[in-house]
Symmetry: C2
Subunit: 669 residues, 2 copies
């Protein structure tokens, strides 16, 4: 054929490739009788251009390190992603899976779930998380490129985001950070369909998104999202700028459904058989449901073939690279074998000494060892570096054009930090940890939940963990946060009591398969561990810190973090003044304790009456203290005053523990 005709044929084929997405999305949603056809149909053209002309994806090696990342931030449009994954030939995304959309045990969950199917780069659905996670991926890409060069690290991060993503607050945190850092390999394709669930977006927003992104330091291009040539030109240009890019794609939601397109009715419900039939006619799509014509299949197959070539060329570059071993080592995410040894030495050095430091300070000391031992850790803080004590000497700051460092000033953006850390962890090459006050885990909840759902190795360093922070008052004093975090599945919540436990908790967090939270004190705490242990007592979640003489307990005191010291003092007082035998159990991590054999748990908790001491809400403690136990902690919000005054005011002190102990042991105080 002459070139012009070839071009026409290519163009017609690309249109049919897009229409295949539309057909699969309509049909799968209809079969499930549940889902969102509007977005996949509206963005089918944009997504097809992206995959057909730009994205480097190899379904035969879905986790190939230098692949382009694609994030469907508007996760409700999951059929867009599943359709494409089927069409390009991800081996697990069979047609049967599309037919089982949204059914129990299928790979085609309602929203894309990381780990449920190959090639899903991150879980999306809670709006705005995708774009903010992608910022983390793009940061990791820049950091890897700074370390290993363009020969080994040469990929883009593409995002499809909807109006909802851009209305959510987290999007502000994400785009401000991305613009500041100049993440020019981040390209966001905005599905500007002007429809949200309640109706036209004009019901609730008048934002000029183009101006908004420019204000944040982004390059912006506006195109008709159904003009594939224009979309391609915009992406081509976006790939060449020195800034992150927004391509505003003006689209029609449900494009292709002749009677419903452009309406919110296509957003979140099946179109119905009649409208689907009409759409087939309008699109000229003659295949029955869940059948793909050979030419369309071949077209999508070429996308995969192009990806495979790129992947093989990259593998050749890697094979011939002098940095190969280092590259593979960081990507493995494995910690150096010397780390446990060094941390043991650190613990040994401190155990039994009279040092009195806050656990946030202990954490800084431990991080000094960790960061000097492995290059994997990337620290940061939401503008509380010198309060969270998250930086150690020599890390070097990440900044515009400067990605060799290992410390990120995330700004006053807890939610954006959490999502960025998820993206960094998902990208691979690094173990991110980031700090803020425990109370501001509230602001990061959405991202923390996704860390847990995706089981990513993200470490939240949450300091100023109780009324012990003192004068800042109740807005800054967590009360309900330990319960909130402990109730979250897959999340390890560590609240260490002294330097030794802090080192152990850090070691456990680094070794974990999922996310961890380190809950640390502002105020100085005594060193409680009296002898060095080669094993990690904290690894069992709870352990007997002080056993009674002779082993016959009259009461058992349970505590975490800063309150373990109070429990120890109370036990000493009970022994010396009242001849009451009180054991003290430190419980730095409930989740690990729950995983222990019942026998161990029973031995630790004992049969004597139990009193829990924690400067937080009671919720959850009844499991450990039982019906006849007592709880010494918070019953409401905190107050503004120096910390010692607050502990006395709220009755979280030795005297109250002693009173309860005497009462439970049936002794008059």
């Amino acid at each position: 054929m002459p070139i012009a005709e070839t071009k026409d044929a290519d163009d017609r084929l690309e249109q049919r490739m897009a229409d295949a997405i539309r057909a699969l999305a309509m049909d799968a949603v209809q079969k499930a009788n549940s889902g969102h056809p509007g977005m996949p149909m509206g963005m089918a053209d944009v997504a097809t251009v992206l995959f057909n002309r730009f994205l480097r994806v190899d379904p035969s090696q879905p986790a190939w390190p230098d692949r382009d990342r694609f994030v469907l931030s508007a996760g409700h449009g999951s059929m867009l992603l599943y359709s494409i994954h089927h069409l390009v030939g991800f081996p697990d995304m069979t047609m049967d899976e599309l037919k089982r959309f949204r059914q129990l045990g299928s790979r085609t969950a309602g929203h894309p779930e990381y780990g449920h199917a190959l090639g899903i780069e991150t879980t999306t659905g809670p709006l705005g998380q995708g774009i903010a996670t992608a910022v983390g991926m793009a940061i990791a890409e820049r950091m890897m490129a700074a370390r290993f060069g363009k020969r080994l690290v040469d990929h883009f991060t593409y995002v499809i985001a909807g109006d909802g993503c851009l209305q959510e607050g987290i999007s502000h945190e994400a785009i401000d950070l991305a613009g500041h850092l100049g993440l020019h390999r981040l390209i966001v394709l905005w599905d500007d369909n002007r429809i949200s669930i309640d109706g036209p977006t004009s019901l609730s927003t008048s934002m000029n998104q183009v101006a908004r992104f420019r204000a944040a330091g982004w390059d912006v291009r506006s195109v008709d999202g159904h003009d594939r040539a224009a979309v391609a030109a915009a992406i081509e240009a976006a790939r060449k700028t020195s800034k992150p890019s927004l391509v505003a794609c003006r689209t029609t939601i449900g494009k292709g459904a002749p009677n419903m397109q452009g309406s919110e009715k296509t957003h979140g419900a099946p179109l119905g058989d009649k409208e689907i039939e009409a759409a087939r006619t309008a699109l000229g799509w003659t295949s029955p449901p869940f059948e793909i014509p050979a030419d369309v299949a071949a077209g999508w197959g070429r996308v995969a073939a192009r990806g495979a070539v790129a992947r093989r060329m990259w593998e050749e570059r890697l094979a011939s690279s002098s940095r190969r071993k280092a590259f593979e080592a960081v990507l493995s995410g494995k910690l150096p074998p010397s780390l446990p040894r060094r941390l043991a030495a650190f613990r040994k050095e401190h155990v039994g000494k009279a040092t009195k430091v806050a656990t946030r300070k202990s954490s800084e000391m431990v991080l000094g060892v960790i960061n000097a031992t492995t290059p994997l850790t990337v620290g940061g803080s939401a503008d509380l570096t010198h309060s969270n004590l998250t930086v150690t000497p020599g890390l070097g700051s990440i900044g515009p054009g400067a990605f060799k460092g290992r410390y990120i000033h995330y700004g006053i953006r807890e939610h954006g930090m959490g999502a960025a850390m998820n993206g960094i962890a998902l990208h691979g090459g690094f173990i991110p940890y980031g700090g803020t006050f425990l109370v501001f885990s509230d602001y990061a909840r959405g991202a923390i939940r996704l860390s847990a759902l995706m089981e990513q190795r993200v470490i939240y360093v949450l300091t100023h963990d109780s009324i012990g922070l003192g004068e800042d008052g109740p807005t800054h004093q967590p009360v309900e946060h330990l319960a909130m975090l402990r109730a979250t599945p897959n999340l390890r919540v560590f609240r260490p009591a002294d330097i030794a436990e802090t080192a152990e908790c850090w070691e456990l967090a680094l070794a974990a398969d999922g996310p961890s939270v380190l809950v640390l004190s502002r105020q100085a705490l005594a060193m409680l561990r009296t002898s060095h242990s080669r094993s990690l007592p904290a690894a069992r979640g709870a352990y007997v810190l002080r056993e009674v003489a002779g082993g016959r307990r009259q009461v058992t005191l349970l505590a975490t973090g800063s309150e373990v010291e109070i429990a120890v003092q109370a036990a000493e007082l009970l022994a010396s003044r009242y001849r009451l035998a009180a054991a003290v159990v430190s419980m730095p991590c409930w989740e690990l304790f729950e995983d222990q054999p019942e026998e161990y748990r029973r031995a630790v908790l004992g049969t004597a009456p139990r009193i829990a001491v924690e400067a937080a809400a009671r919720l959850g403690w009844d499991r450990w203290i039982g019906e006849n136990g007592a709880f010494v902690g918070m019953t409401g919000f905190g107050a503004s005053a120096p910390a010692p005054d607050l502990y006395a005011h709220f009755g979280i002190d030795t005297a109250h523990v002693v009173d309860h102990a005497l009462r439970l042991a049936e002794r008059a105080p």
Copy 2:
């Protein structure tokens, strides 16, 4: 004096009035040895101009309804507010209180706490909450003005916000909504000091805030924040526009401290005696700590006097207004006495019928009664109106230039919605309720916590409350959220089981002194209440829904919401097939149950073994089931599938409850 000299004298006095703030802030922080002098010193000039020339405040009647609202969004600068409140003569803000800054029991908490001192319009400290709460106040002001006209409602809402406020995601949600609604009586004074805690803001942001606010539909003016005439001119102009206004005030943090100003070192720590002495010299401030020269006191006194005049004139207008009674009625916040009667009639109509509806639908039906009976309620949703079922006929939408309605399309902005509802409640005149999915309470956590801390009557309508939402999958299925909300002090968490309970919970939420959460199902639930009760069984938090014949329980089933139906079915099966006597306790509100006398609680819980059924995390349930009880619920995240499949998959069903009951009653299944 000639006019020019008077003007000069006025100008010199205004400067001294500002310096009085600086002196008090330095001295109080120094005395407390804790706090933030930098912001009050940097914004002293701006705040003085605002109060001296514009703000209508009358310390003798601090809650005067038509006062201007002032919100210190950068709440860490609390000494700015306390200093001004002392200087204008709020009766409770004595010099002794300033000397007791950040001490136990003082009115001068670390951050401004609503209710701790007169004239504090809202609690601030968690960054961004102030500006977002102020948007709610400005919405309420427009709504009241639309109802009662300018004669009775003619005030502004002023905000001082810092860089932190503008970096937080919530600020995006707030300014987008404010710009969309054209809240032209909202004026934000931005403390553009280019310093955050970690150092210069250039560490983490390159945002062009001026362009950003313009993109959101705001008027923006930029001034030197120490040029009082320029500040005054900008505020004057901002008061006249048809848009919300940002005044970007370029300031020097710690202004007046000659060696430290402009540095983050002035942000969060006392300046030290030596620097304070140097500042006194630089400012020409000769008074000792905590003493105010007579001329300065008189200058600030005139601010109060002007406010008192304005207040008295307003009172005269109110006295002569034909709308006086209506105005006072809505401001009282009192519900019409007919409401309980109508809700009782509603319950009576439905009790015992075979209607099967989701509690979100029940909620809509109840809201139909409520919204038709009182004009106080203002509904809304974060773009899930027809999922949350929060709108009722005839409410009318709030929109640009249209404030007579009672329904707010908050957009995809859960956090902004929560804060706006706080602002609406604080302003007075309305009872706000707003909907989203329970899982997205994560996104609104920061605002929910402030509803609780301030004990505001804000009602969160949280639907799709479990795996019962089905196909949307784990990102949309709450698991840990009930624990998170129950652990939050001052918050009532209602999870009703049927139409009758839903009506009761709504009635209790409306009558409460603080915030409530209504946790509602997506899926249809049976009507369980068999007979009408004039009292509200739900008011006791938990009650026996099905007692056993003869009163001798062999097991007690505890459940909430959608799982009460499962418990009832299990009890029936246990009775009919196994002759095992199982009582069913419905527990729609733990908090209210906790408040009951122990005798009542014991009677309800009984002495038989107990099994709890709730499609959520276990955390917290051990309190009610005891050490020998059982829990049927979630142990991890959910999945994507039709709801009935999920209940079966996760074993939250009659069969599992029956198995546990037989085991606990020591019967082989």
